[in-house]
Symmetry: C2
Subunit: 364 residues, 2 copies
């Protein structure tokens, strides 16, 4: 059994095997006939930079408009081997951060005249099926922001000349290139912020244990605390699904288990989890933030700025990361070889807001 045959394919109603065709599509030949030129000329009229007399191009475009002609990109892709389609494989759209990522990619790519084929994959699930679909559609590049990626799929893409870029994750042992925030560094920034505010005991709410992103942030955070002389026993880990609700209930459960071990500071591995934690702490446990507990997040999603949260967090420079990712794809220069193993890290920046008392000279 080959997996390539097992994709769920829409099985067309046998009775309607013939495609809907209200009127036979107008093709470049129709336009050519109307304009009194050859089909080649029509093709050239729609191809920027090709050799055609301006006057003739105008005449052709005019004829095309009359016929409501629109070039068939599918057909042209067949010959050019470029689809101008980029695939975006996304995980958790429940996390607003990834919505922002999606928006940014769409903005950029749309402005470049490219189309976006969107896939979602269960968080942490492997994305092989999505990749297989992507391959069928001969996309010009793939952005992967979630899920695992088998080396087999990586090489299948690369063999076909399709570049992949991992966004905010890396896959150990893979030669796929990627861009990510300096997650460990961001974790360190947060540790420093807590320390500066005088915290002595800590907790992290970690999300998906398989996610390198979560791990790296936690690692940087822990390392910095240990360097500062904090005892390992003063750093607690709370596990929960990496969602608002996951953090909410994980915090409650941890508190119920050990009510007297409330830490001074809690690091939510991302903003949405930090928000869940805040709501649990305030609304269910009656605590005040930052007086009773400090909270830190990661991402700087728009919601973090809003009044109920005012979350101190590590900002990920999404636009810059997206630009770097697109640079790695180098869609404009398909002739260049795919560079494997790039691991571009972009630093995050601490944004002081209300959930950690700012030291005398904030940011100093």
């Amino acid at each position: 059994m080959s997996e390539t045959a097992d994709l769920p394919l829409p099985v067309p109603d046998p009775a309607s095997a013939s495609a809907r065709r209200v009127q036979s599509r107008t093709t470049s030949f129709d336009v050519a006939a109307l304009a009194g030129v050859s089909q080649s000329a029509v093709s050239r009229a729609f191809t920027p930079g090709s050799s055609i007399a301006p006057a003739k191009r105008q005449r052709i475009l005019e004829a095309a408009r009359k016929l409501n002609y629109v070039p068939n990109s599918i057909a042209s892709s067949l010959t050019t081997k470029r689809t101008n389609i980029v695939a975006l494989i996304l995980g958790n759209l429940a996390n607003p951060f990834y919505v922002e990522v999606l928006r940014t990619f769409i903005d950029r790519l749309q402005a470049q005249g490219r189309q976006i084929l969107t896939f979602t994959v269960e968080n942490g699930a492997d994305s092989d099926e999505a990749i297989l679909r992507v391959l069928r559609y001969q996309v010009d590049g793939v952005v992967l922001t979630s899920a695992q990626l088998s080396t087999r799929m990586t090489s299948m893409c690369h063999d076909r000349g399709i570049p992949i870029v991992l966004f905010n994750r890396y896959i150990p042992g893979s030669d796929a290139s990627g861009v990510r925030c300096d997650n460990a560094g961001g974790g360190r920034l947060m540790a420093e912020a807590f320390l500066a505010a005088g915290a002595r005991s800590f907790a992290m709410i970690k999300g998906d244990p398989k996610g390198t992103t979560s791990q790296d942030r936690a690692r940087g955070f822990t390392e910095r605390l240990l360097e500062a002389g904090v005892a390992r026993s003063a750093i607690r880990e709370i596990e929960g699904a990496s969602t608002y609700d996951g953090a909410f209930s994980a915090v409650l459960a941890a508190y119920r288990r050990e009510p007297d071990r409330l830490p001074d500071a809690i690091f939510g591995i991302n903003d949405i989890m930090a928000m869940g934690a805040m709501d649990a702490l305030r609304q269910r446990m009656g605590l005040k933030i930052p007086q009773d507990v400090m909270i830190g997040g990661f991402d700087d999603i728009p919601e973090s700025r809003r009044h109920p949260y005012q979350l101190t967090t590590v900002r990920q420079p999404v636009e810059r990361m997206v630009d770097e990712a697109l640079a790695i794809l180098h869609l404009d220069e398909p002739a260049l070889p795919i560079e494997p193993g790039i691991d571009r890290q972009v630093p995050g920046r601490l944004v002081w807001r209300g959930t950690i008392p700012a030291p005398a000279l904030p940011g100093a």
Copy 2:
């Protein structure tokens, strides 16, 4: 000038005009050669329901796997005239409601083996350019959840046999079909909730004045209040951009203008605006909800359920609406004619939470 020639197209670097081709792609002919069959057989092996001996199919799939062969959907689309691609034209991804809509469409379509081509359009802008791109890619159907749609574009799609469905909006004078929540009815539900809770003076925070959705909700709301004997002067309108921030500042501005005309109840035309209003009222104006002001929303986005908001709102049945929308597209039966002028309305449901004091028998 034909607009069809003006799309921003990626202009390939002249130096790299030839496409990246690391190794000549393996085609169905290669597989056929290895399996010792004809190309037709390979095609049939990958086409569910086509006439081929099971044993031979297995042999072919085996050969395909060895060669890492993946069928080229672009090529097959050229002959079948079906791409299995559906276009989603979205507006405001800053509104979580539309993120949910996006997620739901992706889930459904992905499960059907279809791909999603995503476009975003400035809110309220016209979507002609997006439609033009969509036409080039010969998509099987279009879902439009924002923006305006010219009748020219509608007919261009219909002429080509591409069905369009409008999601939660309609375009007066257009024969495009659509699905929407019964927005006016939802507005009425909210009016009734406020009345039941004893409110006597009202305000609406309206979003985009061009959006029929916003207008319909406001109209239903107003009508129901008038029917109940509320004086028109007791119903105020506050205009603002249909975002969290838009509502936040619109409420503050309205309050500063007439500090003594605080209404009993405020209807945010959607949840994200209601949330902005709530935060402004509580954090900036020191008011208590629902004691000092009641708040109602519309959509029932996940955030509405969260502790800081607990928003009483009108729930839109997204899944059902998506299903209806896909039914209108009838992607499985492309031979059926496109039915214009369908206007399917799905009722909303009031969800009582904390921002309106529930009457003795909630929901009665």
